[in-house]
């Protein structure tokens, strides 16, 4: 089976964007859409917000891989909400057999130290985990996950987050830490990774996206696409509405519709709404042009009225599939 996607080689999809633009929502929808063709997909969250549990309406996820959704053709979405503390203990165990030291460390505030003071170290743990998931083999043969989607830190921190192992490699010249860092970077710098930035068609998120793209490119990390989220629904006869200059034109229509009595007030209100709509479209087309200038593939998701629930995620997943992101 050859899935029809723009990203056939990508194992790790990193989803970032300005806070509140819909990173978590898009990451979840992308995981579902990757699972459509029968694949097994891991959705990993690192910000400790239990966003996945909320979206899929399940109890808070422990630091443990859980199956949270299924897709047509036997596809599955698994989820992992990474706790930095747990990840640290795993890491120590992996390299130094030190798990038992955990409680001592915790008492001393060492865990706090690592997870809050040395965000770099925290990022080492989280990126390491993501790469481990892309590499894991079931019974040593087939991959445990066909793809991993990372609900990543926001644009302002994404480059540093992904690039942390380069810094580590600079510090540790030899030894297990160095080889781990090198091997993580080899995946993060390759076609096996794609970084997608979620944005709204508004000035600030777009600006942050453009700044983020520049940074990611400077760091030679693989930028994937821009995902425009919460696009407003298309309004029929938009062009005519935008070009409206005459309230009387509206009153006439209202009279036809039998709204004679209040037609002046209503026409005025609808006229204002038409102007506002035109202003928003103007702004959106300016922002869209700025995104197009990046030359990156762009995918679009509409605003789902009523908000996001599991059904809405499936809806968004289908749209991503149709557009070729998955």
């Amino acid at each position: 089976m050859v899935p029809d996607t723009d990203w056939p080689e990508t194992l790790l999809h990193v989803v970032s964007g300005k806070g509140g633009t819909g990173k978590s929502t898009v990451a979840a929808a992308l995981a579902l859409s990757l699972a459509q063709s029968g694949r097994r997909v891991m959705l990993m969250e690192v910000e400790g917000r239990q966003g996945i549990a909320q979206m899929f309406d399940t109890p808070p996820l422990p630091h443990e891989e859980r199956r949270i959704a299924s897709a047509p053709n036997g596809g599955e979405v698994w989820a992992l909400a990474v706790e930095p503390e747990e990840a640290l203990l795993e890491y120590l165990e992996l390299f130094y057999n030190l798990r038992r030291a955990g409680s001592v460390l915790r008492k001393m505030g060492a865990i706090e130290f690592v997870t809050t003071v040395a965000p770099g170290l925290r990022d080492v743990l989280l990126t390491g985990k993501a790469i481990e998931l892309t590499r894991r083999k079931d019974k040593g043969i087939s991959p445990a996950y066909d793809a991993v989607v990372l609900d990543a830190p926001p644009t302002g921190r994404i480059t540093r987050f992904l690039n942390i192992n380069t810094e580590i490699a600079g510090l540790a010249k030899v030894g297990p830490i160095r080889s781990q860092a090198d091997s993580v970077m080899s995946v993060l710098r390759s076609k096996r990774t794609a970084i997608h930035l979620v944005t709204l068609l508004e000035e600030m998120p777009v600006q942050e996206t453009l700044d983020g793209i520049a940074e990611i490119r400077d760091a030679a990390l693989p930028i994937g696409s821009v995902i425009v989220n919460m696009r407003r629904p298309h309004v029929p006869h938009e062009q005519e509405i935008v070009e409206l200059t005459d309230r009387k034109r509206i009153s006439a229509g209202l009279a036809h519709a039998g709204l004679d009595k209040r037609k002046t007030i209503i026409a005025e209100a609808l006229f204002i709404e038409a102007r506002e709509h035109a202003a928003r479209l103007d702004m959106e087309s300016v922002e869209r042009a700025r995104i197009a200038d990046t030359g990156l593939p762009v995918y679009d998701l509409p605003i789902i009225s009523g908000g996001i629930d599991t059904a809405a995620l499936y809806e968004l997943a289908v749209l991503l599939n149709e557009q070729g992101l998955a």
Partner: protein
């Protein structure tokens, strides 16, 4: 200009009274990311200034065009006068954008002699801490607020300071950050780690047993021996400042809780933002912080809401064939009304859970707020009598 909003269910937040009252000396705008904290802070500042107050706005992360419009182009970490405001009533407006690192440097400089300060500022561990400790930005925002307030008390420069808050992981970080940082710097762990560098010999192993000694070895490998030694030097250098840090954290907290401070929580009319706002309101009340109320920003405003969504849809259907354009306008109107109603339900739910919290809705403008005119418009919408 967008129309006025129908008042929300629940007690009304009287912004005009809040900013006019000379006893209001500090307003803190807080809430989750992207809801309009920076915009609200700036709009309140402009309005208060044009009403005759001497205002300083401390912003954290204004959008680029807004920053330019407010003259926030020289980034020297001190407030600059904003030009283009109406000073007929004798008010003034200054604004600054927080430079987190610079503020931290100032703290170090003010708490130690020059030689020691230089030593600390050059320390790599300090440099990492001052730019990436989780919560540093929050801590520095509060530190800057204390500085501005001290300056205002000393020179009478401002009678109202309005602070924007950083886009934290948790909207509450800025309440906790000063305490967290000072307790971290005071903490046992950092003391032990830095023991060797402070001349306690093979300190770590002896103090806490072999298991932890081994851990120090690991940390050495993970973080690099250099970092640990920098850390030790840093702690030794900063030792004399601990008292000052702690004292400062206590004072800032007291300033926030004092009479004359008002918290304005900002939220968007969305489930998640209102949930955060709920946490926020609860936390402020648990800490006895003075809450002025909740601003629900960017609400869908419907003009002529005497034409109901159902009526608009029915009318649209009647003229679909003769006048498709007006039909489309009517449908759009119906959708706006639906959205407005949905948002009001969400706000009503918040209000049901927090019946004593005063509320103020602000409609979404058709465009970003990126100049003084836009701020003035938001200010007017905030201040309008209810």
């Amino acid at each position: 200009m967008s129309g006025q909003m129908r008042p929300l269910d629940g007690p009304a937040l009287d912004i005009e009274q809040l900013i006019q009252d000379p006893r209001t000396r500090i307003i803190v705008c807080c809430g989750s990311g992207g809801v309009g904290k920076t915009t609200t802070a700036a709009a309140l500042g402009l309005r208060a200034a044009e009403n005759g107050r001497s205002v300083c706005v401390l912003t954290i992360d204004p959008a680029r065009r807004l920053a330019q419009a407010m003259g926030l182009t020289v980034l020297d970490n001190t407030p600059r006068p904003v030009t283009g405001i109406n000073t007929a009533r004798g008010g003034s407006l200054s604004a600054m954008m927080l430079d987190m690192k610079r503020t931290f440097d100032e703290v170090v400089e003010s708490h130690s002699d020059q030689a020691r300060a230089q030593h600390i500022l050059a320390n790599p561990f300090y440099q990492a801490l001052s730019s990436s400790f989780a919560g540093t930005q929050e801590y520095m925002a509060m530190e800057k607020l204390s500085q501005l307030r001290a300056q205002a008390d000393r020179d009478g420069t401002w009678d109202l300071i309005i602070v924007d808050t950083p886009p934290s992981r948790s909207a509450l970080d800025f309440l906790d950050a000063p305490e967290r940082l000072s307790s971290f710097l005071d903490g046992k762990f950092i003391r032990i780690l830095s023991a060797p560098a402070r001349g306690a010999g093979k300190g770590i192993g002896r103090l806490v047993g072999a298991g932890v000694g081994l851990f120090a070895g690991v940390l050495n490998k993970v973080l690099g021996a250099q970092l640990l030694s920098d850390l030790g030097t840093f702690v030794a250098a900063i030792d004399t400042m601990f008292g000052g840090f702690r004292q400062r954290a206590v004072e800032t907290y007291a300033l926030l809780a004092a009479e004359g401070t008002a918290f304005v929580v900002v939220a968007a009319p969305e489930r998640d933002a209102l949930r955060e706002a709920s946490f926020f309101v609860d936390r402020l009340s648990a800490d006895h912080m003075p809450l002025a109320g909740l601003v629900v920003n960017r609400m869908q405003n419907a003009n002529a809401d005497d034409l109901s969504a159902d009526q608009a849809r029915a009318a649209a259907e009647r003229i679909e064939d003769e006048d498709a354009m007006v039909a489309s306008l009517l449908t759009m109107h119906a959708m706006r009304l639906d959205e407005a109603a949905r948002q009001r339900r969400l706000v009503a739910r918040f209000s049901g859970a927090h019946p004593s919290v005063s509320l103020r809705g602000v409609p979404a403008l058709a465009q970003d707020v990126h100049d003084l005119e836009g701020l003035r418009e938001i200010g007017a919408l905030l201040g309008q009598p209810t």
